[in-house]
Amino acid sequence: MPDATIIALIPLLPLAGFVLLGLFGRKYFKNSSGIIGTVLILISTILALYTAYTYFTTANVGFYPRLVPVNYTWLRFSENLSIDMGILQDSISMMMIVVVTFISLMVHIYSLGYMKGEERFSTFFSFLSLFTFSMLGLVISSNLFQIYIFWELVGVSSFLLIGYHYKKPSAVAACKKAFIVTRFADLGFLIGILILSFSSGTLDFNTLIATLTSPESGQLKTAAASTFLGASALTWGAALVFIGGAGKSAMFPLHIWLPDAMEGPTPVSALIHAATMVVAGVFLVARLFPVFSITTPGVLEIVGWVGAISAILAAIMACTQTDIKRVLAYSTMSQIGFMMFALGVSKYGGEGGLGYTASMFHLFTHAMFKALLFLAAGAVIHYVHSNEMKDMGGLRKYLPITHITFLIACLAIAGVPPFAGFFSKEEILLAASQNNTIIYWIALITSGLTAFYMFRLYFSIFWNKPAPSPLERAGSEVHHHEGGFAITLPLVLLGIGTAAAGFIPFGKFVSSDGRALESHLHLQFSIAPVALGLLGIFTAMWLYKKQNERPEKLAASLNGLYTSAYNKFYIDEIYLFIAKKIVFNLIGRPAAWFDKNIVDGLVNLTGNSTTAISEKIKKVQSGKVQQYAIYFLAGVIGLAILFIYIWK
C-alpha cells in the first residue's frame, strides 16, 4: 500500500495551488499562474495514478478492502462524538481520484489556451485548484461529515466558476440559481446525515455501513422501529441523503440549475458540470450503497425511478435545444440518470451487483467522453464566437482535430462499439433488463434518443450548410485555426481515452461488495440498443446532414411536444409560480408583515416610550444644588417614616 502522505498530497497540492494563486496570483504570477496550477495538478495526477495502481495491484486477488490509512481527529465534542478528517481507500474512491485528477489536468491544459488573455486569469486557475481540491477531498472522505464539508466546498467553487464572468447578468443569475438549488437539496442531505449518524451512533462510513446493514445490531432495530409518516427513520434518512445527491447531480425535479450553469466558461462546464461535480450524487449513493440496498430497498427503488425519469426527460429536452452547450448539459443530465437508475436496479453483492459496477463504469467513461465533448464544443465556440447552432455548420474543414475527436465522443455516447460508451451502457441496460422491465424500456428509448440528439449536434456543427470561409469572416475577430497546442492536446488525449476506456475489465476492480465481478459481453443482447442507436444516428443524418426543410416540418408536426420540450417542459415556470405566487404570498408576505409590525413594533415601542418618559423627567436635573438637597432630605425623611412607622 502506498504511503499515507502520498495519498494526502493528492488533494493538498491543489489546495496549495489555490492558496498561492488566490493570495499572490494577481500580483506576482500574472502570466505564470496557469503553468503553476497545471504543474501541481500534473503531480497530483501522477500520484493518483501511482496510488490507484498500487491499490489495485497489491490487494488480495479478487477482493478490494476498505482501508483508512489516515484518520485525524479534527473536532472532538465528547468521548463518543468527534468529527474526523480521514482518507478512505476503496475501489470507487481510487477510481474517482484518477478520474478527477486526469480530467482536471486536461481542463487545466485546455484552459491555458482557452482562457489566455483573460483579465482574471490567475483567479480562474485558483478557483479551478480549489474545485479540484474539494472534489478530491469529497471522494476520499472517510466519514459523512467530512463528505458534507467537501460537498459544500465543491458547491461554492462551482458557484464561483459559473459566475466567473461576474459582469454578465445572466452568469450572475445562473451562479445564484445553481447555488440556491443545490443548497436547497443539501438541506435534505444535512438532515439525512443527522438521521443516519444518530441512528447508527457514528459518522464514520465503515462503522456506519456495518451497523446499519447487520440485522443483529441493536441500533438498526431501534432506528427501524421509530417511524415518521409511515416510513422508518432510516428510510427518511436515506431518502433525504438521496435528495442531496439528486440536487448535486441535477436529477429531476432539481435539475433546473444545470442548463443555466452553462453560462460559466466552457472548461468549467467540462470539469464541473460534466465530468466530476455532477456525478457526486451518484458517488454518494454508491458510497452508501450497502445501506440503500440492504436496509432501505424502497429508497433505492426511488433512486432508480428518479434516474430513469431524468434520463428520458433530459433526452427529449436535448433534442430541441439550439445552444450547443445546453444540448450537452441535458445530455449530461440524461447520462447521470443512467448512472442513477443503474444503481437503483442493482443489488448488493455477487451477480446482482452488476448495476453498481455498470454505474461506476459509466461514470468513468462518461467523464472521458463528456469532458471531450465539452472541450471540443469549447473549441467550436472559440472559433465561431457563438453558442447557437444556427451560426455553425460545415466546420469540419476548418477544425479537423476537433471534428474527429467530437465524432469519437459522439459515437461513444451513442453506444456504438467499440467506443467506451458502448460497454458501460450495455452493462447498464443488461442490469436494468434483469431487474426492472419498465426502466429497461425507458432506458432503451433514451439511448436511441441520445444517439439522435448527439448526431443532430454533430451534423449541425460540422456539416449542414457550408461554413463561411475565413476571408468572409475577416470583419470579426478571426481565428483561422483551431487554437494552439494547449487546446488540441487535451482533445487528442481524451479522444484516445474515449476510444480505449471501454476495454478496461471494470468489473474486476469495482463492484458493490469489493469482490471481483466477471462481466460478459452478451452479443445478442447488444443488438437492440446498437440498432436503435444507429437508427438515431441515421435519422439525425437524414435531417441535418444537408440544410433542408425537414427539421422544421418535423417540429411543426410535433407542435405541442416540440414547444414544451423546447421550453424545458415549463418546469422553471412552475417553480417560479410556486415561489412567487404561493410561497411569497402565503408565507413570505405574512412573515414580513409580522416582522415589520409585531417584532419591530415591540422594539420601537420600547424605544419611543423610554424617550417620552425621559423627556418628561429630565427637568429634575436642574443644576440647582439646593433643590437636590431638598430632594435628598425629602427622600431621607420619607425613608425614615417608612421604616419607623409603616414597615415595622
Binding site: 436642574s622 443644576g623 440647582k624 444644588v625 439646593q626 438637597a629
Partner: protein
C-alpha cells in the same frame, strides 16, 4: 437641675435643623459651608451624649467625634479650594450663578 440626655439631644436636633435650614436657604457658598459644619457638629454632640449617658465606660463615641472633626477640617479645606476656583471662573460665590451642570 442637671442637664440630662434629652436636653442635649434637643440642642443637637435644633442645631441640625438650623444647619439644614441654612443649607437650603442661603445662596452664599461660604454660608452653606458653615451650615454643613453646624450639621456635623450636631452629629458630634449626639455621639458625645450617647457615649456619656448610655455607655459611660466606653470611648467609641469620643473617637468618632475626633474623626469627624478631622474630616470636617479636611472637607472645609477642599470646599474652600473649590469655592476659590469657582470665584475665579464666575466672579461670584453665589450658588445661583453656578447652575450650568444640568440636563
Amino acid at each position: 437641675m442637671q442637664p440630662g440626655l434629652y436636653h442635649i439631644l434637643f440642642i443637637s436636633a435644633a442645631l441640625f435643623f438650623i444647619g439644614v435650614y441654612g443649607f437650603l436657604t442661603r445662596r452664599n457658598l461660604i454660608t452653606m459651608l458653615m451650615s454643613i459644619e453646624l450639621i456635623l457638629n450636631s452629629v458630634n454632640l449626639n455621639f458625645i451624649a450617647f457615649n456619656k449617658y448610655l455607655w459611660p465606660g466606653k470611648m467609641d463615641g469620643l473617637f468618632f467625634t475626633v474623626f469627624i472633626i478631622a474630616i470636617a477640617a479636611a472637607e472645609a479645606a477642599v470646599a474652600i479650594a473649590i469655592i476659590i476656583n469657582l470665584y475665579r471662573s464666575h466672579n461670584s460665590i453665589d450658588v445661583e450663578n453656578a447652575e450650568e451642570l444640568k440636563y
